[in-house]
Amino acid sequence: MDSDALRREADAFCRYLVDAPPPDALIERYVRANDVLLTEAPSPGDQAVIDFACAHPRSIAMLDAGTALSGKAPLFRKKLLVMMAIVETTPAFVGQTEPRNASLPGLAARLGLSAARMAVNVAAGLALSTAIARRRRG
């Protein structure tokens, strides 16, 4: 895969995960990790999801939620896992990735909020990934 496309992915996925653009070193790390780990050619379905995600970064949350549940687009999920591993081992993002303590009410509120957001994204993501698949088929 060409490295410009991977750089675009790195930028989109990092912003999705931690709300911040990736530093150059992190982008290079993502490109290198893809070269080493994800050598298989993407399926047309996977490629369509990745292309759409990079063209419309706001859709990533929905596509991630939809494909997590449906199991479709496994390469897209692997790429997100690679980016999560990279941001998790970057000190600049430790505040967004390290385990956190929360009081019981705080924990319940945050979990509830995450679950609600997730439910919305799953519903939207399933519809969106179906639409992408239909568009790809013709």
Binding site: Y16, L17, R29, R32, A33, V36, L37, A61, D64, A65, A68, L69, K78, L80, L81, V82, M84, A85, I86, E88, T89, T90, P91, V94, Q96, T97, E98, P99, R100, N101, A102, S103, L104, P105, G106, L107, R110, L111, S114, A115, R117, M118, N121, V122, G125
Partner: protein, 544 residues
């Protein structure tokens, strides 16, 4: 050809503890092993607590993910999944030089200095009398050697409810501190002890080969939570610490880059060992009065079967079936977790509905802190962003129970050596299948344990069976027995001597006829020490 007293094959937990009493007695011992070491990461990992390195070390990705991103693994976990990039040297070259053919058994093997002990979780329960059922030795035969090994390597633990199940040691160091997650489960157990015990559930400190006090130049744990990544301070025992100690004795020689192929006995009672020099490719022959094979159960099987040209001969194999259970500890939800902790098992769980006199099941509870969240996400059906947020909140209360089941030989569990047809390495063919009744029994035990833990507010999230070889507890290929069953028996006597040979001893897991529901490493080391002590009386220095 110069002769030494003993050649020890391998450098893992059994090898070094068999060698120690021999070397200490003044015998000339040569240890042969490939002896791979970590040359990539050891120098790159700074000293400091995990939580601090996460915040400050810009180079952390080099060792947490690996120079070639080998720490990001996709697919099934399986054997060796616990090996972080700095530990992966343990398995280096093994797939190439020790090939296995199997559709059901995918073991981790090692050619490292210190063997599989380089990645050991340090769990060190002793066997009980009930565990030695079918062995030609009793607990009294092993106890002095448990003490000797404990004094040598350092075992910490507590005199708590688990003594009847895990044994007792005079040489035991005080227990290392449990982390806040484990503490909350233990407190709950202590409040409900009577009911839990009535249901057959017992909880306590694990026995760990981890120091709480200084020993032989090694430091007690500093609670830096770096134990999956680094051996700084040497608080966790690794067999290579003993190799280093042995190197200080004049009679000891370590010869690395040697892959032992076979042995032959000579008419005058000596043994010639053939080993391949991995650098030159040449076969070298070394001579000794006796040989101790401790190349790991599968490695030793190759050497013995090749030495007797028993290609195709099936020999038994046992391996503890392992189950991982992801749990949420509701006791610690909403409470602050301490960063200061060690990374190994925090608690030991015993399920013994019939008490300690009958067979029982042992598990260990780990907290999930220093292995990074992305590894958990791989198993999660959650989207990454929300999943990461949820795991951040829940991981301080997240626990992993590793439960192991006993294993006994059966016709469906065996290995055989197949000759290399293409000039490559001989292949070990392995078949391993659990019977439906085994599976049903494991399931019943797991259900009972998880029900008991639920009463302690540990909620099961998911059970994972990571394949037949995931425990890396391999044994049973040349079992110790009172008397040979047949003339061509491939068994060992109670001193570990291979019955088909006069001066070839086996000191690793191969000689265990069965495996109880416990880690075998500490017992393997004690048994190796026992065999070494026996051999030194046979080969008194200067007797030849």
């Amino acid at each position: 050809m110069a002769e030494v007293d003993v050649i020890v094959v391998g450098s893992g937990p059994s090898a070094v503890n068999a060698a120690y009493p021999l070397v200490e007695a003044g015998l000339r011992v040569t240890m042969l092993d490939v002896g791979n070491r970590d040359t990539t990461y050891e120098e790159t990992i700074p000293e400091g607590p995990f939580s601090e390195l996460r915040r400050t070390d810009e180079q952390q990705h080099r060792y947490l993910l690996g120079e070639s991103f080998e720490g990001i693994a996709f697919g099934h976990a399986g054997a060796g999944a616990q090996l972080t990039p700095p530990r992966q040297y343990v398995a280096r070259d093994a797939e190439r030089l020790l090939p296995i053919v199997s559709g059901s058994f995918f073991p981790l093997q090692s050619l490292a200095e210190g063997g599989l002990g380089g990645g050991w979780g340090a769990g060190s329960p002793q066997f009980c009398e009930a565990d030695l059922d079918g062995f030609p030795i009793r607990l009294t035969d092993l106890q002095p050697h448990y003490e000797a090994v404990a004094a040598r390597i350092g075992i910490s633990g507590a005199h708590d409810d688990l003594v009847p199940f895990l044994g007792d040691l005079q040489a035991m160091q005080p227990a290392v501190a449990i982390d806040s997650n484990g503490e909350s489960i233990l407190r709950r157990y202590q409040k409900r002890r009577a009911a839990a015990n009535q249901a057959g559930l017992f909880l306590g400190h694990p026995r760990l080969a981890m120091l709480s006090q200084p020993l032989r130049g090694r430091s007690p744990t500093r609670y830096w939570d770096m134990d999956f990544w680094s051996d700084a301070g040497k608080s966790i025992y690794r067999p290579r610490w003993t190799v280093d100690e042995l190197r200080g004795f004049p009679g000891f020689r370590f010869v690395g880059r040697r892959l032992v192929q076979s042995f032959t006995e000579t008419a005058d009672g000596g043994v010639i060992v053939a080993a391949r020099d991995l650098d030159s490719g040449r076969i070298e022959e070394l001579r000794a009065r006796a040989v101790v094979l401790a190349a790991g159960t599968l490695g030793t099987a190759r050497i013995v079967l090749r030495s007797f040209q028993l290609y195709g001969r099936r020999i038994p194999l046992v391996c503890n079936p392992h189950t991982y259970v992801a749990m949420l500890n509701a006791n610690s939800l909403g409470k602050d977790a301490r960063d200061a902790r060690h990374s190994m098992a925090q608690l030991c769980v015993v399920h013994a509905p019939d008490g300690a006199q009958r067979r029982f099941t042992v598990g260990h509870v780990y907290s999930y802190r220093s292995l990074l969240l992305f590894r958990l996400m791989k198993y999660s059906p959650l989207p990454f962003r929300e999943g990461m947020e949820m795991l951040r909140l829940l991981s301080p209360s997240f626990s992993v129970l590793i439960l192991q089941h006993e294993d006994r030989p059966s016709p469906d569990k065996y290995c055989a050596l197949a000759r290399a047809g293409d000039g490559g390495e001989d292949r070990l063919e392995v078949e391993y299948a659990l019977s439906p009744s085994d599976r049903a029994q494991h399931d019943a035990v797991e259900t009972a344990v998880l029900r008991g833990l639920l009463r302690l507010r540990c909620v099961t999230l998911r059970r994972l069976h990571e394949g037949n070889a995931a425990s890396t507890h391999f044994a049973g290929t040349f079992p110790m027995s009172e008397a040979p069953a047949r003339d061509d028996d491939l068994t060992t006597d109670k001193h570990g001597r291979l019955r088909r040979a006069r001066n070839v001893y086996i000191a690793d897991g191969s000689v265990f006829p069965s495996l109880p529901s416990k880690g075998l490493t500490f017992t393997m080391m004690a048994n190796a020490d026992r065999i070494g002590c026996h051999l030194r009386t046979v080969l008194r220095p200067g007797s030849r």
